[in-house]
């Protein structure tokens, strides 16, 4: 790094008067969940969105039917970029350093441990180059009618030195000991209201 020496009087520097926050950065402002019935039918999209990043998110509810399991796809977007930018492909490209976890009231899955009043069961349906789950593609299986919440957590797990942070059974470790027991930082931690309708 070379030393910088700016000896000119810079009172007219316009960079001060033209502020801009660099949005080419680690920003995610929208999370989309796409539910597609495995038996066929229309997909449903629910989004958690805070386009102005001012603490007032718009949150859609997940509406499921007891009838069938669903394919659950997760996508991430930066709506502050112009045009809006989808981040999902970048996460997928770095799958060995990312994992999506699903928890919440009414969710049974690898990251939740035993849950007695689950309304849905989560299963991972993808894996990275090390054979570890990613969580961009999942199965969501309704188990009983009712209401609850599903929390979606995208965890960035880069290696530290020569040690991998994304290791087998991270979800199970989090279920047993809490997320403080696994490494990495949350890039996303959002919660959707959820309901499972009884069969007609």
């Amino acid at each position: 790094m070379r030393p910088t020496m700016l000896l000119l009087l810079c009172a007219a520097c316009t960079d001060v008067e033209n502020p801009h926050n660099d949005d080419d950065n680690e920003l995610i402002t929208r999370v989309e969940l796409t539910l597609s019935p495995e038996a066929g039918g229309d997909a449903e999209v629910a989004s958690w969105s805070d386009p102005e990043a001012d603490g007032n998110p718009l949150i859609d509810a997940l509406l499921l039917s007891i009838d069938g399991p669903y394919v659950l796809e997760v996508a991430f977007f930066n709506d502050l970029a112009e045009p809006s930018e989808e981040i999902t492909a970048e996460v997928a490209a770095e799958a060995a350093e990312h994992q999506v976890f699903f928890t919440g009231e009414g969710v049974l899955g690898p990251a939740t441990g035993m849950v007695t009043a689950a309304i849905v069961e989560h299963q991972y349906a993808d894996e990275d180059s090390n054979g570890l789950p990613i969580g961009l593609l999942n199965r969501l299986i309704p188990v009983s009618a009712g209401t609850g919440e599903i929390t979606v957590r995208l965890r960035h797990l880069p290696p530290e030195g020569n040690a991998l942070v994304k290791v087998p059974e991270l979800a199970e470790t989090a279920a047993a000991d809490g997320f403080a027991a696994i490494g990495g930082d949350d890039d996303v931690l959002v919660t959707f209201p959820m309901s499972v309708d009884a069969a007609e």
Partner: protein, 809 residues
């Protein structure tokens, strides 16, 4: 060379004749003793002979006395006083014996000012003698404020450490550590926002608001560092509420030749070597020109606690500096440039976590990932990269009007913080550029004698232009500010007492430039009143204007000259709110909080007093200082509480975080420091030091107030052949638990108190090679430091063995 003076007999023979100043002037090249880090110190008092023809009058005579490198007086000149006492004063001055002044540990010739007070023998009892008061004996002793100067030897003991580590041994100073290897000093419980650092007379300007931002000053470039404890705004300006650090370079060489200093150190915890070199030269062909070139570098691997490695705490730092000075008659023009560069990893255990996860990791006790971390010099994300440049042009001139100092300085501070991001994201996530132009001018008038009173003082002005440019994740706006100040001070010395008054007025005009998205966010939240700002297509412009007056009144009484002094300092000082306190908007990278500025904050003002007493005997030296102040509009960063009395939360895409904002309070701050040195030069000595501070508002101790601290050292100074300045010490440092802060108001309970043991040894071999070793945390104790941000995540580093070597050539 000592001049021949009239003998006592000759004086008597002269009778009523006015003897006049019989001695020659001290050489103009001699350095003023008071300007040196170690001024000449009077060792032996002498009796004054009262002239018969003085009748029964009192009289004060001030002399300028040359003190040689052997401590013997040379040329003497009368500066002021009644002529009838001149001969007696000159004769007495010739018999004074001094400890010579020292520069960089080497005895140098100097000029010191001596004050003789003559009183008629009829007014004295048998045991009384007329007084000799040496004014300007030592700046620390002569200042009306509590003040400690660390000389070159003291700074060398901290070789390889940053500024905070270099001043840690001063009573009342603690270190505010962070989650990197950088730290900042805390004086009387006040952190860097409320401290002023002056480097070579220039206010150090940086992003000092951040709890994880160290002070970008190179202690190797200092010949001395003075720590002033307490408010000093009237002399130094805004921010000088808790104290001031004066970082002064060593004097330049003035006679032809080349000299240098080399210093090296190694610390075992983190495998941290340091090397520094300074060269000073005066060309024989241009004896009026002085040159200096200096540089140093340090690297360090990740440190370790007794139980685990602190992953990603490696660092790299380097500094460069160059100075050229030319002496033109009674003036000197000096140009200098300094560059500081630091890259430091942020501890892997610091995670941007929700409160629930944050609490869980606190309860775990050992950070998650501790088993993964290995010692490494690699710096990974997250990390900080900081550079700081200081270019200075300094003109000092002496004339019948007095001594004038004019400084123009340009500072360029660049701070870039890199977070954990996807591979596709390049560059820093937080990028701060701070550009500062400053102009400081001061005129100190010549000493004037009015009756028995010697007056000294001066006036000055300070002006600045600063631009703050930020890019990155939503956090801060840009800003441009104009600042200015006018000050005056005057000191009266009479007999045993000195009284000093000072006044100053400072103003700040600042305009913040917010991009439209951030401006709208603030407006929607209600944290910014749109009527205060004007908007354009590019930005919202939000102006602010602040003004503050600072005052000081101090007195110094030489109760027993040379032995016992008492100082009283009354001071009022102020601080303008920082940009982050007004407009911060975003998640804090190091803490589970969403931070929000408060644009209506006012000027913070401290009004208080300090009383300091110093005792100096051959077998005992002691200093006791107590202070109390009230701070109006004290800005505290604390959780925002809603109307229902519950904390308010901010929902972000990364989870829900408690909202923290800046709240004005009106706390009391009080406490004190004590230092006792038994046998300061004896073969065996004991040094005790302690400090307490309380900062309370509404009956509650404020979070972050430093806990009580105590230090004890047993010193042994054997006399060994061929080895000088040998000293061995055993050290015990105790830090109490901060139990006065309500744990419900903090993010985590205060850590337990701790007793740390250490040892040190130092010596000078062959009069040239200075060596020292130090063992810190000898028992490898596990502990957390209350004043360190790291305490929320991990233990402090464990045992550390340090070796240092220095030499002059």
């Amino acid at each position: 060379m000592k001049r021949t003076l009239p003998t006592l007999g000759a004086v008597l023979a002269l009778g009523c004749c006015v003897a006049g100043p019989a001695a020659a002037e001290p050489p103009s090249s001699a350095v003023e003793s008071a300007d040196l880090p170690e001024p000449a110190r009077l060792l032996q008092r002498v009796a004054l002979f009262y002239p018969e023809d003085a009748g029964s009058q009192h009289g004060d005579v001030v002399l300028l006395v040359e003190v040689g490198i052997d401590g013997v007086t040379g040329a003497v000149q009368v500066e002021s006083g009644p002529e009838v006492f001149f001969a007696s004063a000159l004769e007495a001055a010739s018999r004074l014996v001094f400890e010579p002044a020292r520069s960089d540990g080497v005895a140098v010739a100097s000029v010191t000012r001596i004050h003789f007070h003559f009183a008629p023998p009829s007014e004295l009892d048998d045991d009384a003698t007329m007084e000799i008061v040496v004014h300007g004996d030592h700046p620390d002793l002569e200042d009306t404020k509590a003040r400690t100067t660390l000389d070159r030897a003291a700074l060398e003991r901290a070789a390889g450490q940053d500024l905070a580590g270099s001043v840690e041994e001063v009573p009342g100073v603690t270190v505010g550590g962070g989650t990197t290897s950088a730290a900042k000093p805390i004086i009387r419980g006040q952190q860097e926002r409320r401290l002023l650092v002056l480097v070579d007379g220039v206010r150090h300007e940086s992003q000092k608001w951040g709890p994880d931002h160290g002070t970008e000053v190179d202690p190797f470039s200092a010949g001395s560092i003075t720590v002033i404890r307490g408010a000093a705004g009237a002399r130094y300006g805004p921010d000088a509420m808790g104290g001031v650090l004066l970082v002064n370079p060593p004097p330049l060489r003035t006679d032809p030749g080349v000299q240098g200093t080399a210093l090296g150190s190694f610390a075992s915890n983190g495998t941290r070597p340091f090397a520094g070199l300074r060269l000073d030269a005066v060309p024989a062909a241009l004896p009026a020109l002085s040159l200096r070139l200096e540089g140093n570098a340090a690297v360090g691997a990740s440190r370790h606690t007794p139980d685990y490695v602190l992953g990603n705490t490696a660092s790299r730092a380097w500094n460069l500096g160059a100075t050229a000075a030319v002496r033109l008659g009674t003036s000197q023009l000096r140009a200098s440039w300094r560059h500081h560069d630091l890259a430091a990893g942020v501890f892997h255990g610091v995670r941007s976590a929700t409160p629930a996860e944050f609490e869980a990791q606190l309860e775990a006790g050992v950070p998650e990932g501790a088993e993964r971390w290995e010692p490494s010099f690699a710096i990974e994300r997250a990390y900080q990269a900081v550079s700081h440049d200081l270019a200075l042009l300094h003109l000092a001139t002496h004339s019948p009007l007095g001594t004038a100092d004019v400084r123009y300085a340009y500072q360029h501070n660049r701070r870039r913080e890199y977070e954990q991001v996807r591979d596709g994201v390049a560059g820093p996530q937080y990028d701060f550029t701070l550009r500062t132009h400053s102009l400081d001018a001061e005129l100190a008038h010549p000493e004037a004698v009015v009756g028995d009173v010697t007056m000294s003082g001066g006036v000055g002005l300070q002006a600045g232009l600063q631009e703050n440019v930020y890019q990155g994740l939503t956090l801060l706006p840009n800003a441009r500010s104009f600042s200015g100040g006018l000050f005056a001070y005057e000191r009266a010395s009479v007999g045993r007492a000195d009284v000093e008054l000072g006044g100053r007025y400072d103003g700040l005009l600042r305009t913040a430039f917010l991009d439209d998205a951030d401006y709208q966010r603030h407006v929607r939240r209600g944290s910014l009143d749109a009527s205060h700002c004007s908007t354009t297509e590019e930005a919202a412009r939000c102006p602010g204007a602040y003004g503050a007056a600072s005052l000081s009144a101090g007195a110094l009484l030489h109760v027993v000259p040379e032995h016992l002094d008492v100082k009283v300092d009354l001071a009022r000082a102020s601080r303008f709110p920082d940009l982050d306190e007004l407009y911060l908007l975003g998640s804090a990278p190091s803490l589970p909080a969403f931070a929000l500025g408060f644009p209506d904050l006012g000027v913070e003002t401290s009004t208080g007093a300090t009383v300091t007493s110093g005792l100096r005997l051959p077998w005992l030296q002691a200093e006791l200082s107590g202070f109390a102040s009230r701070i109006d509009n004290y800005v505290q960063f604390a959780p925002e509480i809603g109307a229902d009395g519950q904390p308010r939360f901010e929902v972000t895409v990364r989870g829900a975080f408690p909202r923290f904002t800046y709240t004005p309070l009106r706390p009391w701050s009080h406490g004190g420091e004590a230092t006792v040195d038994l046998g300061p030069t004896a073969p065996v000595g004991l040094r005790l030091q302690g400090a307490v501070v309380r900062i309370t508002a509404d009956g509650q101790e404020l979070v972050g107030t430093a806990p009580d601290r105590f230090d004890a050292r047993l010193l042994v100074r054997p006399q060994l052949a061929g080895v000088d300045d040998t000293e061995l010490s055993l050290i015990a440092t105790g830090v109490a638990r901060q139990f006065r802060v309500d744990p419900e108001r903090d993010l985590a309970p205060a850590p337990d108190g701790v007793m740390l043991l250490g040892a040190a040894a130092q010596a000078t071999l062959g009069s040239k090679l200075r060596v020292g070793i130090e063992l810190r945390n000898l028992l490898d104790a596990r502990y957390r430091e209350y004043t360190s941000l790291l305490r929320y995540y991990a233990d402090q580093p464990g045992r550390d063995f340090r070796l240092r070597v220095g030499m002059d050539f």
